[in-house]
């Protein structure tokens, strides 16, 4: 019984655990070689967000070699991101997906400490990949993780691998800027008609200044005592009215159906990954698999992590000459494109003025406009038309197109 025996793809695969012995932490990973040219194609580390959601949901729901159908069997994905790259899916922080521990990790910085160790050991064992370009990609709360993890990696000059860029999709990265855009997105200024009555929009606007002042206090102190109240107040005031409509927070065009995460397909993944034969083939050691662990979510919230200014690390990445792609499906509410476009425009870095004044250009795929793109040097913002929170789920061909352009070194896309 090997990972290949599951028939998710025919390429070479590895699964296993990173063990952190004295802290009893065990991180699960699953690696797929590129379908194209694994000796030369880049390596990608994919991270889902949550916080508390398994990266295997990204594998099966968005960009991996197969999805899981209603009959709980794999369906081949011809738009998989391992078409031209090898991809590692890592379940982190601990107690997410197949990862487990007797202890808790409570914030992004703590969660990131072990990712560097994982990469060092991975590239030590599989040294044939260590000189290939290595990128970190992820979405949603990975807008918190990726800047911090990337900074941690850059702080290790002795690293054994070729760290090349980061990609963040529909991320939560700069809450102080992004929380200004829930009201416009819900109230008809994001490209879709308003989904709220006028009085609800007015209520959102009237609570906005208190919310922003609380986030600002969190940015200043970065203390639990100010960051927790900011999360509670702002999430209730800015997301509450939208959630009460019953709409899907990940896609403004749809109602929320199929459990707490609004997609029926996620339930098929849970069923598949709880099968004994699947766990045996992968070596998975947890008794139960859940797409998202809400304990971890609440744990991060109580650590005040949600509202912290991790976008400051993006400035450091750019100043270290690490290319950064921010992309956003334009039908998402919770990490909407308006907020993402706004924070990249005000991010301080040496190229900020030129970036802010760069023209927004159409982004074409196969002769058809698929979105818009704004770029200066190594920093790019891409708006993807017709996609919700999980871009490769809604626009698989277009997502693979920009992904291949980016990892191929075309930072203007």
């Amino acid at each position: 019984k090997t990972p290949e025996s599951l028939g998710i793809d025919t390429v070479k695969q590895y699964s296993g655990y990173l063990d952190v012995e004295d802290e009893d932490k065990h991180f699960f990973y699953w690696f797929f070689e590129s379908r194209n040219d694994p000796k030369n194609d880049p390596i990608i580390l994919w991270l889902n967000g949550g916080p508390g959601c398994s990266s295997l949901t990204g594998l099966f729901f968005e960009l991996g070699p197969s999805s899981i159908g209603e009959d709980i069997k794999p369906i081949y994905n011809k738009h998989s991101w391992n078409s031209n790259a090898s991809v590692i899916f890592l379940d982190q922080p601990i107690n997410v997906g197949y990862s487990y521990s007797s202890s808790s990790v409570t914030d992004t910085v703590a969660a990131g400490k072990d990712v560097y160790a994982f990469l060092e050991l991975f590239f030590k064992q599989f040294s044939q990949y260590k000189n290939l370009p290595f990128h970190i990609a992820g979405e949603s709360y990975a807008g918190h993780y990726i800047p911090v993890f990337a900074s941690e990696i850059l702080s290790h000059e002795e690293r054994q691998f070729n760290f090349t860029s980061v990609l963040i999709g529909n991320g939560l990265t700069d809450p102080l800027t992004q929380y200004k855009y829930y009201e416009p997105m819900a109230c008809g200024e994001g490209g879709e008609p308003s989904v709220l009555p006028e009085e609800e929009c007015e209520a959102m606007l009237s609570s906005q200044s208190r919310c922003l002042s609380l986030i600002d206090s969190c940015y200043q102190s970065q203390s639990v005592w100010s960051c927790v109240p900011a999360s509670i107040y702002c999430n209730n005031a800015q997301m509450g009215p939208y959630q009460r409509t019953g709409r899907n927070v990940y896609d403004i065009r749809e109602m929320c159906e199929g459990g707490s995460l609004c997609y029926t397909g996620l339930e098929y993944i849970d069923k598949y990954l709880n099968r004994d034969d699947v766990k045996e083939a992968l070596g998975a050691e947890t008794d139960n698999y859940e797409s998202c662990n809400f304990d971890v979510n609440r744990n991060f919230l109580f650590a005040g992590d949600w509202m912290k200014p991790y976008h400051k690390a993006v400035t450091d990445l750019l100043e270290s000459k690490l290319p950064v792609l921010i992309y956003a499906g334009d039908k998402d509410f919770i990490c909407n494109w308006l907020g993402n476009e706004a924070w990249v425009d005000v991010l301080p870095w040496s190229g900020s003025e030129k970036f802010a004044s760069s023209k927004v250009k159409p982004w074409n795929v196969a002769g058809k406009e698929a979105g818009t793109v704004k770029n200066h040097d190594i920093f790019t913002f891409l708006r993807v038309y017709g996609a919700g929170h999980m871009v490769p789920y809604d626009q698989p061909a277009n997502a693979l197109d920009f992904f291949n352009e980016w990892i191929g070194g075309n930072y203007a896309i």
């Binding site: 107690n95 487990y100 050991l121 991975f122 927790v228 992968l282 070596g283 050691e285 971890v296």
Partner: protein, 82 residues
């Protein structure tokens, strides 16, 4: 509004202070009043906050692995590979 909720919330700041090992006496009045305002306005959200993640039941598979990887620069870490 629930009486039980109110009792639980009364202890919340105390629980946070214990979990974070930060004496409640050292908190400013502004912080105390902000936390009680959040507790009153959003009791459900506050009661859902959690200090620790529960451990996950698991069964180690000692013989499932083809490689065990260690590095002297990372003495506390090890990689298992199937």
């Amino acid at each position: 509004f629930s009486v039980q909720q109110s009792l639980f919330n009364e202890n919340l700041l105390q629980k946070a202070s214990e979990a974070l090992n930060f004496p409640i006496e050292n908190l400013s009045n502004d912080v105390k009043s902000l936390w009680s305002e959040m507790t009153l306005k959003f009791p459900n959200a506050v009661s859902n906050l959690q200090f620790k993640t529960n451990p996950k039941p698991h069964t180690e598979k000692i013989n499932a692995w083809d490689f065990h990887v260690k590095d002297e620069k990372l003495p506390n870490h090890a990689l298992r590979v199937k």
